[in-house]
Subunit: 418 residues, 2 copies
């Protein structure tokens, strides 16, 4: 059978499974997640040997160390996968929630009710834990899911997906609510991206190249995550000790992630007292500084920043610094160079805190807290399937709720339209 | 300049205007809408002569009468356009609304705030009033808009868009928040659909062919509306007089629209008493009936329905009728043949009313009311830019609120991540 037919058949089965999933009660979905955790635990040996096979093949292909790390289902990653399933099982079921209700002049009571999205497609790189994490989130929200993982994790994914399917069947939910695309070449992805009749939304998880490829070819909506060029603006009225702690945390605690600070903006009135003291802390933690001219006149050791630095997502211990005249210039800088990911203001001024919050259009805007909080767990969503940097449907971390939509409902007693 | 460059330039200007629009206060946006209504009224002569030019050209090209009707800016359509602007001006501003707020264990107060989507693209057929209606909705929600209307309405659209731009400038909002794509050939649309860096969402308004073309080629998300194959299920415990009035309204009041009933499902226990009495009412209003075998044994004059009838969107005085064994069979029929648009149950039974409401996954599900209520004005949204039949972001009628998204906001007092 060719790719087109295989994918169409998978799509049809996913659509059918999604109808059953949409009507599955909360306790059944909870049972499925707990069953998955149990069976994964039981079959840990089989999973590990499948993973070993992938690791061995990847080593023979000289896969980069970072990729190899992500491919490995270490004990720590395995335990997190299991505890993630238990936590997810305990979260409230978003499906069926009535988010609002109002009455029309003719007496019709109209409301909105949460429903699953239907079929979710996930295309990701070779991280086998994503197979379990994202399938579980989709199940919790009453969706069916079609997974296409990276080719290096082929054996691990096959083994994990079989366990997920078996667990669904064990609680009388449709096994086809989780399907793995097993063909490895790009043609299969292209066919998957044409299935707009069967897949309601596509979520690519991985590097920018993969995401652009999916966005370009998908006929269905794509929830995408590009880069995170996050800013902190230290205002004239900032508590400078608080500013220091937050900036240090945002840059140094985990520099390789999308919610780490990449550019520090400092009000000209605060720069003289703040920057030398802050630079000292950065110096001690090994952060390389690249500043505008005004910054360099305060910090002679600082390297000069070029235009490219303002756009840069370093994902490393490097920081761009710019002194700005006022809040307006800070906001303008962010809207020109930023990626609408995460921005924070440090200030004790009420007016400017609220203006920053209102006018900066990023997925998370904070006052007096670290950019590192832009994460589904940290914000209290309970779980996370990714961070969306486009605004339609979901903007910022996506939890279980973001895997649902709403329908309108109406209670009448004979209303007709005149 | 080639299409690609022209569209890129327009996209950049739209993006810039969208930054200003996002920060525009509620009163400024209201002033802009009222200004638009006033200037349209003042320049009615110019608008009418531009529209005459389009009508004349369309007549020479022998455009079909229905299309000619939609192209014509009659006094009635013109007045509705003006009163629509005034009504929209009075609606609450969705931007800045905080939809939820909660506190994390570390004291961080996290919430979600409504923000504009950014830049909205609208591709529509030759209906000049859509130029004003949809631009106004986008402005109200703080967006910039790029409009591409059908080629037959070229002169009308040019004239209307110029007035909208002038009105924006008159209240110190950016004229580029409304831009009209003036090149007529399809190449320009294709270039527009590639602008995923500049256009956040594309809303096609028109026939299925146009919508499929946009969905296939767009790199940005598309809010699309396919067909409406709407069902009414008359349950065993229905009030038969109520059922008759609702069915008549849903089929006859305006048969050519997407929320009219196309298939009637009747419980076998109600069919004997209901169908002859209902058929009589349909007979008097000129509705052609096509039924399943059981229906035809009750209604000998009824034509036989084929498999194709269950999928049909007649948009005409034709109705398919099927007798079903129970609620389950009704729901199965709807999920097999329906288009997820609008479905109603007529029943006095509490349990079945709620099961239907929960299990039918259409954009509007009603109990004891006509399907004709699936409309933004009728449901109380205040305005409507279209009806979405896909679930992501918006499902069902889209009002001003559906032209916004949400960002996360967080109030801290020094929180860092550990």
């Amino acid at each position: 059978m060719d790719h087109c037919k295989i994918m169409q058949e998978m799509g049809k089965r996913a659509r059918q499974a999604s109808h059953l999933m949409a009507c599955a009660g909360s306790s059944l979905k909870r049972d499925a997640l707990i069953m998955m955790a149990e069976v994964l635990r039981q079959e840990v040996d089989g999973i590990q040997s499948a993973n070993e096979k992938d690791i061995l093949a990847a080593k023979q292909k000289n896969l980069a160390k970072a990729k190899l790390d992500r491919l490995r289902l270490s004990d720590k990653v395995f335990d997190e996968m299991i505890s993630g399933l238990h936590e997810l099982a305990l979260l409230p079921d978003p499906v069926g929630e009535i988010t609002r209700m109002w009455t029309r002049p003719n007496g019709l009571r109209v409301g909105r009710m949460r429903i699953p999205l239907g079929v979710v497609g996930i295309i990701y790189e070779s991280r086998p834990n994503v197979t379990v994490d994202s399938a579980a989130l989709c199940i919790k929200a009453g969706n069916a899911v079609m997974l296409r993982g990276g080719s290096e994790s082929f054996h691990s994914n096959q083994c994990l997906a079989a366990i997920l399917r078996k667990s669904l069947a064990a609680v009388n939910l449709p096994a086809d609510a989780v399907q793995l695309v097993e063909t490895i070449d790009r043609e299969a992805i292209l066919e998957m991206l044409k299935l707009d009749d069967f897949i309601d939304v596509m979520i690519p998880r991985g590097g920018e190249e993969l995401i652009r490829f999916v966005a370009e070819h998908a006929r269905m909506p794509v929830l995408k995550h590009y880069k995170g060029v996050c800013h902190i603006y230290v205002d004239a009225d900032a508590d400078l000790n608080m500013a220091k702690e937050i900036c240090l945390n945002a840059k140094v605690q985990r520099p390789g992630v999308c919610n780490a600070m990449e550019t520090l903006l400092v009000h000209q009135g605060a720069a003289g007292s703040f920057l030398p003291f802050m630079a000292d802390a950065f110096h001690k933690t090994g952060v390389e500084l690249r500043g505008c001219e005004r910054t360099r006149s305060l910090l002679p050791d600082c390297l000069p920043a070029t235009e490219a630095d303002w756009y840069a997502e370093y994902l490393d211990l490097i920081l761009a610094i710019r002194i700005v005249d006022d809040l307006e210039e800070a906001i303008r800088h962010i809207s020109t160079y930023g990626s609408q990911h995460t921005e924070a203001i440090i200030t004790q001024n009420y007016e400017r805190a609220h203006r920053f919050l209102q006018e900066v259009q990023s997925s998370l805007v904070l006052v007096n807290a670290s950019t590192r909080f832009n994460d589904g767990y940290q914000l209290g969503l309970g779980a996370e399937i990714g961070i969306s940097t486009s605004r339609l449907h979901a903007f910022g971390p996506m939890g279980v709720e973001e895997l649902t939509g709403t329908k309108f409902i109406a209670f009448g007693n004979g209303q007709v339209r005149t």
